[in-house]
Structure formats: C-alpha cells, structure tokens
Amino acid sequence: MKKKVLLMGASGSGKTSMRSLIFSNNPASLTARLGATIDVEQNHVRFLGDLILNLWDCGGQDAFMDSYLSTQQSTIFQQVGVLIYVFEVESRNKDKDLEYYRNCLEALRRYSPDAAVFLLVHKMDLARSPKEQVLERKAEELRQASGDVPVTVYGTTIHDESLYKAWSGIVHTLIPNASVLSRHLAVLAHACNATEVILFERTTFLVIATSNPPAAPTFSAPPPLSSTPSSTGSNGFTSTSASTGTTSSVTATSQHAVNVPEPRETDPHQLVPTRYERTSELIKAFKYSCSRVREEFHALEMELAEFTAVLDELTKNTYVLIVVHDPTIETAALRMNIRLARHKFEELQGDSLI
C-alpha cells in the first residue's frame, strides 16, 4: 500500500535534514553536511513492511517552488495522502513563505482535497525564549493563513526529541488499524501485568501504537485518511504535550475539539509525558553508536531501580517495549510473552494493510 507524502517548505528550512534523521538514521550532527535539494527527490520508504511511504522532498528554492505551482502542479499535488509543510521559526521572509504556503494549499485542495495537512515549525532550538509563546504566536499565524483547512501544528527541532513526536503523530494517521493494534497491545499489557506496552517501527523507531492511549483526547487530530473512524488510538500522541515547552499540537477547526481534563490527572503513575519520543531518540542514538562498532542493536532488557523493561523484536518490522513496575516479574517471563504474541501481531499486520 502506497501513501504519497509531500514534504515542502522554504529553502533551507530543514526538510532533507529531517528525512536524514528519521529515515536514514543519521545523527543530528551530520545534517550540517547536506546540500540544497534540487527539484524533487523521491524516496520510497518502507514503513511497517507493507506500507510504503512515497516521500516527495521538494526543493524549496524559489525557482522550484514557482515551477511546482505552475507547470508541475498536477504531477506534484495529485493523489497526495499527507502534506507536511515546514516553516522556520525565525524566518527572514515571512510574507513570501506564507504566500507560497497559501498557493500550495490551494493547489492541494484542487487535486487532493482529502489530504491531511501538518505544519512543522522547525528549528525551535534557535527560537528566542519564551519558546512556548513564540510557537503559539506562529501557530496562530499559520492557522489564519490556512483559512478553513484543518491543520495540525508541531514545534520541532532535530536536536531533541520533538521531531520524533511530530513524525510519530504524522505516521500514526497513515496506519489504518492503529486502534486495533492498541487494543491488542492492551491485552499484552494485561497479560504481563505491565504499566505500558509501546510498539515502535523498526528502522525509524517512530511510535506506532501504545497500550494505553489516554481515554479522551485533549486536542484532536484531523480526520485520518483511511476509512476507520477517528478513534482514540490516533489521538494518543497529540494530547500530552502541554507540559513540554517546545512541542504543541493545535487544531484549526473545532469540529472534533473535546476539552477534557488532561489524562495525566487520572494516570496513577504520572509518567513523564515526553517518554515516547525520548525513548525513540535514546534508542536511535544507541543504535548509531552500535553501528560504529559494526554491531547491530538487537534487543535490550533492564531491571533498574524504578522499573523493569524489555525491548525486543515483535515482528520483522516492529519492536515492542514492555514496561513493568512490579518487582516480582522477571524479564524472561516478559520475553516469553513476546515470543507467544509474535504470531498474532504478524497476522494483524499482514491482513490490515491490504
């Protein structure tokens, strides 16, 4: 199953760096070496085995942007599943950026009216503090510019975990059976007496599903692309961001906005809300260090003072992290459960994406 993902934005805003960090597993420091993208770079990224993301990294220089909006319009904007538009938090020419953005949005409406739109306010590490206010202001501006198109805004930077959070959110909407996966993860969590079970994609380590998405979302995501209803599973990632400074997810329309108390109050464990993306970031960094010794990271288990956890392969495209707080549970038992659950998850993955 193919999904076309358009990655657009001004020249130098960070689109290719993002791609390098998330999909090519390069560390943030190496992105300094990337040059300008010429015209469109098309990548087919295999995600979850059967889902192929057709990533169109569009060079942002003016000459290219002009051609996208004129001669190449139908090629670029047809059959798009997701548009990701990248803005720099402090840009030199805001009006031009917004102008191009509005034109792209219009072209998108014309050729792919069902596409989801995500806006990333990138390079947040360069923003003047207080960062939350800067992000809020920018998000408001962007929502205004988008008119009545529902958009989701994230604040990101390659130097911390916020980029993982944004991309996990984006990719989540592309997975058709996220809620089914969540349900099964919840069953696994119950069997292991685990506090939480998280499913990661193997290469990018983006979070696909968790066993306990908050019961009701604080903010809602735009309607997902496939036919499954906008379920609680797909909103798992957008709601717990209020406490972190640099990331927030805001919607333009209020059709789904349900203002409910933050899930943190009902969560007895009060785990850190940024843990998903921090885990992605930490494991990716460790995988990179392993590759430098020419070894490949395979599995991890730990029994620390605060919790016991096992991170292991579940199917050939996913990794699962089981976090347990009960001190009597041994890691071998968790691994046995993973082994037994493997078959079911492979089945789930196989028949869901067709």
């Binding site: 590490d125 130097h159 911390d160 975990e161 506090t195 939480e196 007895p268 464990h269 009060q270 785990l271 850190v272 843990r275 921090r278 885990t279 930490l282 494991i283 960094a285 460790f286 260090s289 392993c290 590759s291 430098r292 010794v293 020419r294 070894e295 490949e296 990271f297 395979h298 599995a299 991890l300 288990e301 730990m302 029994e303 620390l304 003072a305 605060e306 919790f307 956890a309 976090v323 707080h325 009960d326 001190p327 041994e330 890691t331 071998a332």
Partner: protein, 416 residues
C-alpha cells in the same frame, strides 16, 4: 535536551568545597587543573562531574578564583579548577603544592605558539621541583576542531616541542614522566583520558584489576570495565587493551541507561520495588556471603530461569530511605539501618548481533550495579550469556562483594 549550567564558577567562593561535600571528614585526593585562559579547564570539570551538556559549555563564565570541587568515586577526589592567568605564587599561597596527587595541564590544540609552550613547561617543571611524586598529564584539548590527520600531526608536534623545551631547561628533565592525551568534550576521548589519570591515583587499582581479570576469564568476557556511573569514567578495566570503539560503546550504553531511569519512573509504583524482608532472611543475607542459598539453587535449576539466582530480597527501611528514591537512576537507595544493606542491584543487558552475517554469534553488553556509584559493564558472547546466565550472575555476586570490601577499606583508610 538543552540545560543551562547549574552553577557558574563565579558563584562559588573559593573557600567552600563546592556543594555539600558528602563526607567532610575524609582525606581527599587532590587533582590540580591548570592551563591558559579559555583552554577548557572549567568545561572539562563541568562536563565530567556536573552533567553539563557539551554544547552548553559555550555559556560558562570565566573562572576568577580557585574553586575546589569534591567528587566521590572509589576514592574521594577534589578537583582544583584554577583561573587561567593564575601565578604559581598565588597558587602556593592557597595550598602547598606537595599535597596534589596529579597535575593536569590543559592546552588548546590550536594554541601551539612558543610562549604558550614555554609557559606550560615552566609551570610543570616548577611544580615538579616542589613535588616529584606528582603525576603529570597534559590534555591536548579541543581536538574536535581538527580533522583526523591534523589532529595527530599537531599532537606529535606538541610532544616534540615539549620534549625540546624540557631538555633545554636541563638534561635531568628529559626523562620527565609527562603523559600526553588528545581530548575533546564532544566525544569520549575526555572520559578515556581522565580515567587513565584516575587509575594512577587509586592505590587499590591492582586488586580491582585482578577481580576484573578473574571475572573475565571465568565468564568468557572479552572486555570488562568498572565504571563510575555519574561521571562515566572507568576506574578499572581488565588486562586486555582498551580499544576506543569498545570504550565508546560502553560509555554510550551507560549514558542511555542513566537517561532511561527517569523516563518510566512511576510515583506510585516505583518505591514498591523495595520491600521489607523477614528479619531472619535479611540477617543471613547481609553477612559477608550474601547469597549462599540462591546461587546453589541456580546451579541445579535451569539457567534460563534467572529467578533463583539474584539475591532478590531488597531491604526497605524507614521513611527517610523511601524519600530518597528520587536519587540517581539505576542506584538503589541507601539503607539507614545498621544491618540492612540494599539488596536490589539493577542490571541490564543488550544483545548485539554483528552486521556482517557469519561473523560470529554476537555479543551481549551487560550492566550490573556493584556499589551505589560503580557498575560493571562487560562484553560477553551472546551464546555464553544465554546458556549460562545464572553462572555469570553468580560470578557477579562475588565480584560485587570484592569491590565492596575494597571500597570499604579505602573509606576507612581515609577517615581523618
């Protein structure tokens, strides 16, 4: 994640010993950090011992006074961070030079001008004259700005120049035992270099190394390190040579484990890990042979059920102990009662598969906490670890006891 430095050097008056010194009545091993202005002394100290992110060292203010910062590892240390332009006389006024165990002179790799080198050599020689037993180290710092070839070229160039200067001063100084290290705060070369400095200061190093050698040969481990968790310096390693990629991997692994702790810390559930054992069992387990029963069970039971092997009965004492759960990740809270020792020791293992197929079965990186501050990191072939995990953990128990005894002796010896 970005963090501002928690303290700037000018906010600490020169006469205090930094933050709350945990053991004020103990004799500390003193390390002197000297170097020209902006060479990187304070950033070295802050990155190693105060968890400062390397990128944040940009914001450090100039050191204006001699600051003494204590740090406790196998031995209690005190690092004297001096302002760049301090005169030796001023330093001698603060403390006699004979009480320093090591001198680290930090020089910027790009600052290889004659006046700098002359000043450095003069300083080193005058300190050596006062204290011939001092261990002399030169850190050729900020090596990350140059490419590989230039780095090594400058390094060798510097070594030659220093040797020339020394022989110019006097022939008796030609054989001065100066150790050169190439360092940078942006990679692990700083940790490696500082670790080697500390090795020379630990009197009981040979015992620790022996313990590691025995452990390695019995567990078929190819390399093992005894790391200090907070600073990520290794206080001892086994006899096989330390190769930088392996050291970097272990360092990264430790860094990852340290970062994981707070992520899934649960306010309600985490302290439950420490349960009160029945007193009889606690007493028998806290005596020297801490696990006479459980490992022998493990030898008979199937190795894949590690449940019986770990001395699993932690001791939880009064409320004061519980409130300290927020301390360092990966370290059991100290026990307040006289006979109770913390019995739960965190451990972790990561299995790595070689990227080239057929190159071997893969290695497992294991982590076992040994004392509140030290951890054993070892590389064991995965096949061995999977099949004989119980025995490996049994060996770790004895290793742990040995290290704890050594640490206790060190502590008592230094009590003032």
């Amino acid at each position: 994640m970005a963090r501002m430095p928690s303290q700037s050097s000018s906010s600490i008056p020169a006469h205090t010993n930094g933050h709350a010194s945990r053991r004020p009545d103990v004799e500390r091993t003193k390390i002197l950090l000297l170097g020209l202005r902006r060479s990187g002394k304070t950033s070295i100290e802050q990155v190693l011992f105060h968890d400062l992110q390397p990128k944040q060292t940009f914001y450090l203010e100039r050191t204006t006074r001699v600051t003494k910062r204590p740090y406790d590892t196998v031995i209690p240390l005190e690092i004297w961070d001096c302002p760049g332009d301090i005169a030796l006389e001023a330093l001698k006024a603060e403390a006699p030079l004979s009480q320093f165990a090591a001198l680290i002179f930090v020089i910027d790799i790009q600052d290889l001008y004659q006046p700098t080198i002359t000043k450095m050599v003069e300083t080193i020689v005058s300190i050596y004259q006062e204290n011939p037993d001092i261990s002399l180290e030169i850190f050729v710092h900020k090596s990350d700005v140059l490419s590989e070839e230039y780095k090594i070229e400058n390094f060798r160039h510097l070594q030659e120049r220093v040797m020339d200067e020394l022989s110019y001063i006097g022939t008796e100084y030609e054989q001065l035992p100066v150790n050169f290290q190439l360092t940078s705060i942006y990679d692990h070369s700083l940790h490696d270099a500082f670790s080697r400095v500390i090795h020379k200061l630990i009197d009981s190093l040979s015992y620790l190394e022996d313990l590691l050698n025995v452990f390695c040969s019995n567990s078929q481990s190819s390399k093992a390190f005894l790391f200090d968790i907070n600073s990520r310096l290794y206080v001892a390693t086994d006899a096989s040579p330390v190769d930088p990629p392996t050291h970097n991997l272990c360092n990264d692994y430790l860094q990852m484990l340290n970062a994981f702790g707070p992520l899934y810390k649960s306010i309600t559930a985490s302290p439950a890990r420490y349960r009160i054992p029945s007193t009889s069992v606690a007493n028998s387990l806290t005596s020297g042979a801490s696990s006479p029963n459980s490992p022998s069970q493990s030898l008979r039971s199937h190795p894949s059920s590690p449940a019986a092997t770990r001395p699993t009965l932690p001791s939880m004492n009064a409320a004061p102990t519980r409130s300290r759960t927020t301390s360092l990740p990966g370290s059991p809270t100290g026990s307040a009662s006289p006979d109770g020792k913390p019995m739960f020791y965190p451990s972790a293992s990561t299995s790595l598969a070689p990227s080239t197929a057929g190159a071997g079965a893969g290695t497992t990186l294991t982590y076992h906490l040994v004392t509140r501050q030290l951890a054993l990191l070892a590389l064991i072939p995965t096949a061995v670890f999977e099949a004989r995990r119980g025995l490996v953990e049994y060996n770790v128990v004895f290793f742990r006891e040995g290290v704890q005894e050594i640490c206790q002796v060190e502590e008592e010896a230094r009590r003032v």
